[in-house]
């Protein structure tokens, strides 16, 4: 403040208070009360559980951003298989794509760029398709094929043993259809349900 010409009363003369300190202390008290109030208010609005990110498979459009936008080198989004919905078809449109050359597992026939889908014979004419998560990169090509031509049993999900649960998920910000949602941590998956008519 401006140099005061008057002498301020010494602290011992005023029982340890002076104007400035009083003002400061009251503001301090107000701030503390404010923080307490904020704590109360926010606790009332808060949830005890943390939230995690998850993809709503019914909104996802399989754009391929999940593979490239994750902050991790190997995306935390992987393809998941709802076996109960699968038709176990010999010609799987998630495995082979719409126009394969031949129904073999040769590289030119497979849709998956990393070969993460494994095809196993079960019984005639059914084949089981499983996803190897260590190879899957979450590009969604198989999901697109399955949704367009098949039963839609393949879908993308955030895997929580890999996901860092960033406060702002980079994939969520880049998702064109807004399929990323915050879900409670004790129900962290939005799996597709079986709906046999």
């Amino acid at each position: 403040m401006m140099a005061e010409n008057k002498r301020e009363p010494a602290l011992h003369e005023t029982n340890g208070i002076n104007r400035r300190h009083f003002l400061r202390d009251s503001i301090w008290g107000a701030c503390l009360a404010g923080l307490g109030g904020a704590a109360a208010f926010l606790s009332a609005k808060s949830r005890s559980q943390d939230t995690v990110w998850q993809i709503d498979p019914y909104v996802c459009v399989q754009c391929g951003n999940c593979a490239t936008y994750c902050v991790l080198e190997e995306s935390a989004v992987k393809c998941v298989h709802a076996y109960a919905m699968c038709g176990y078809c010999k010609i799987c449109f998630g495995f082979f794509g719409p126009e394969p050359f031949d129904i073999t597992e040769a590289a030119e026939n497979q849709l998956c760029p990393t070969g993460a889908i494994k095809r196993t014979f079960v019984e005639d004419p059914y084949y089981e398709y499983t996803i190897d998560e260590s190879l899957c990169m979450g590009c969604g090509k198989c999901v697109k094929g399955c949704n367009t031509f098949g039963n839609g049993s393949l879908f993308l999900q955030v895997r929580h043993d890999r996901c860092l649960n960033c406060n702002e998920c980079s994939i969520a910000a880049a998702c064109p259809s807004g399929a990323f949602k915050r879900v409670p941590a004790d129900r962290p998956y939005l799996l597709k349900m079986v709906e046999h008519a």
Binding site: C31, A39, S43, Y58, H160, C166, L191
Partner: protein
Amino acid sequence: MIRFGYIIISIAFFLIVCGITSSVPAAPMSRQLQAQAGVERFPPPDFVESGYELPSPTTPHPRQNIYEYVDAVVLLAALGLASYLVLKKRSRRAILTLSVFSLFYFGFWRKGCVCSIGAIQNIVLSIFDRDYAVPFVVVVFFLLPLVFTLFFGRTFCAAVCPLGAVQDLVLLRPVAVPSWLESGLRLFAYAYLGAAVLFAATGSAFIICRYDPFISFFRLSGSLNILVLGGCFLLVGVFIGRPYCRFFCPYGVILRQLSRLSKWRVSITPDDCIKCRLCEDSCPFGAIKVPTAEWPARDYDKSKKRLALLLLLLPILILACAWAVSTASDLMSRTHPTVRLADRIHLEETGKEEETTDASAAFWATGKDVRELYAEASNIQAAVKTGCWLLGGFLGLVIALKLIGHSVRRTRIDYEADRAGCLACGRCFEYCPREHVRLNKDKQAVGDGE
């Protein structure tokens, strides 16, 4: 009269209130899965021969909730320890060790998320968005450092914040930033805080998280841009102490104001100080203020006039800045994905763009009414506009107050640790000969006592 007893009572009251309200059940989050009627083109298989059993998809769990609370406890312990080390023990080495621990735990182990700085956004979002309930631990991360700062000064910055810790560690050759420049550079932190609050409140983006320079180091992966940004900050940080903390950190802005009021903090006791001048250059962050020289008498009238002018200008400045930022509201609203989508849909609908993007194609496929989308986007734009007015007003206020602050002739007869800017790092302790005396006395006392 504020006495020690009153402080204890208020702390107790505060804790009780917290305890009661946190036991209130959290708002349940309803999750309704759309049961989409059969997209299934092929019938379910009939496994007759092989007795094949249908496997189920695996559902690995995220981090157990209990560990979140462990984080909160570690934060509390670290804050307490930091406060003790700074104010009582006054050992730079101990503070450094604690900050290494914080870097390891809150930085590399927890991957730097959720941090107190980003918690601002979660809090703001929960206030403005009814559908979002902030996790309790985030509230703790937001409030605990603020409470400790109110009592002990910026001990959070000293040894607990991982971003501060990493910058502190790379500071090798401090170069002082001239004090006149510091104030101006700090404007950016206020703008960053205001913008972060604006974007979080409108649900557009969490920009503190998006542009966190050190997060990619903590995660050991990330986009190239942020890695380079972080590298630049660290490189600059080798010479200029804690650039992010001083000029960019939005949480630091709040901590500064609370630290001004704090009960106890790193201070230079006027009675003890012998004005040896040895500590003048000890602070790499320029937080030690030197006693002022006398202001020339001829300056008195000029500065009185200047101050009066600035006080008059205060409301004008606020309004002008408010208007100025509001002109940018259209651009700011584009950070929101809905507004971007509506813009794109509008371009396609009016025929200015033929092709569709992923987002617009996804929208068209939902068959939703375009007018609904436009209404939503217009609402967001209106909210952003209001927010921009407020942001501009806030910035105007900050600028005006800074100008006024620099026009006021402060008289300082003692050496002072800047109440707001001292980061409590403890580097200055060992420069003070009186401190050496005190430490030796303590050692002697311990030695004599045996």
